[in-house]
Symmetry: none
Subunit: 162 residues, 2 copies
């Protein structure tokens, strides 16, 4: 969503509307005006005169907040796992496993669910899933992603925590 720039307090009349709509907004505060007090994380302000890079940085922050945090990984139409302008190729089995994890990014996916997805007509052996998870882990590590085990519940895909 686009950030709206508002001269403040001159264009104060705009503000109620923007706030109501949840539009991210940056108040450009005149040299003499008192600083506004905004609690809303989607509202920010900067005192004029201001450097261009500072304005852009605040706009970028508001945009990121409006986009609801961090970007999530996805599997594109070619079966590549993409995340933050990097990508890795996946084998067919890995693609299914990664798909299940990506669809519920940050939440647990049960082992049985993943097994049924990778092998709809029955998994080869119990251990097969483990091995493919291991290989998937190594494959996605360069992207800054990791698969965490939640014992007796399943697996969880998340951003690598160092």
């Amino acid at each position: 969503m686009d950030v709206v720039l508002v001269r403040w307090p001159e264009e104060n009349f705009h503000l109620g509307e923007l706030r109501g709509a949840g539009t991210p907004r940056l108040l450009l505060v005149g040299p003499e005006a008192p600083p506004p007090d905004s609690v809303d994380p989607l509202e920010d302000w900067i005192r004029l005169p201001a450097e261009d890079r500072d304005v852009r940085a605040r706009v970028a922050t508001l945009e990121a907040r409006a986009a609801n945090g961090m970007p999530t990984p996805e599997i594109d139409e070619d079966g590549l796992l993409r995340y933050r302008d990097r990508w890795v190729s996946l084998s067919p089995v890995e693609r299914e496993l990664a798909g299940a994890l990506v669809e519920r990014f940050g939440a647990v996916v049960g082992r049985d669910l993943m097994a049924r997805r990778a092998w709809p007509s029955g998994a080869p052996t119990r251990n097969a899933l483990d091995v493919h998870i291991l290989r998937l882990r190594r494959r996605i590590a360069p992207l800054g992603l990791e698969v965490r085990t939640v014992r007796s519940r399943g697996y969880l895909l998340q951003i690598t925590t160092s």
Copy 2:
């Protein structure tokens, strides 16, 4: 909670700790430094030199956000204990104990109540609850949560005070 002022980028090394603890913080950005990119609503910055009233306004905003949006820990549908974008997995027994504590976050939960919840058909031994509380304590410590004992009353879950 108090807002911490950090000279940036000089005192950058502080920042990881503050972010991890969820401490609201205002970065004082040197005249030549590039603007930081913080998505966290509990982090803000201002370029030096800055007017006093502007600094105070931003501090007040951070304080207000910290006071309002104090998130409470919760146990999600997968049995994970989540708190402020971090999580730990819980074993079945720990999950029940943590569940009782989370539901009455900040208030005392009696030992007998917790014991009945973890073992509806009678606790194994007197000591069992203690041991599981000990293990739960160690597990949730990384989240910044702690279980406090209220002697002869029960236990209480709260944010770590250190």
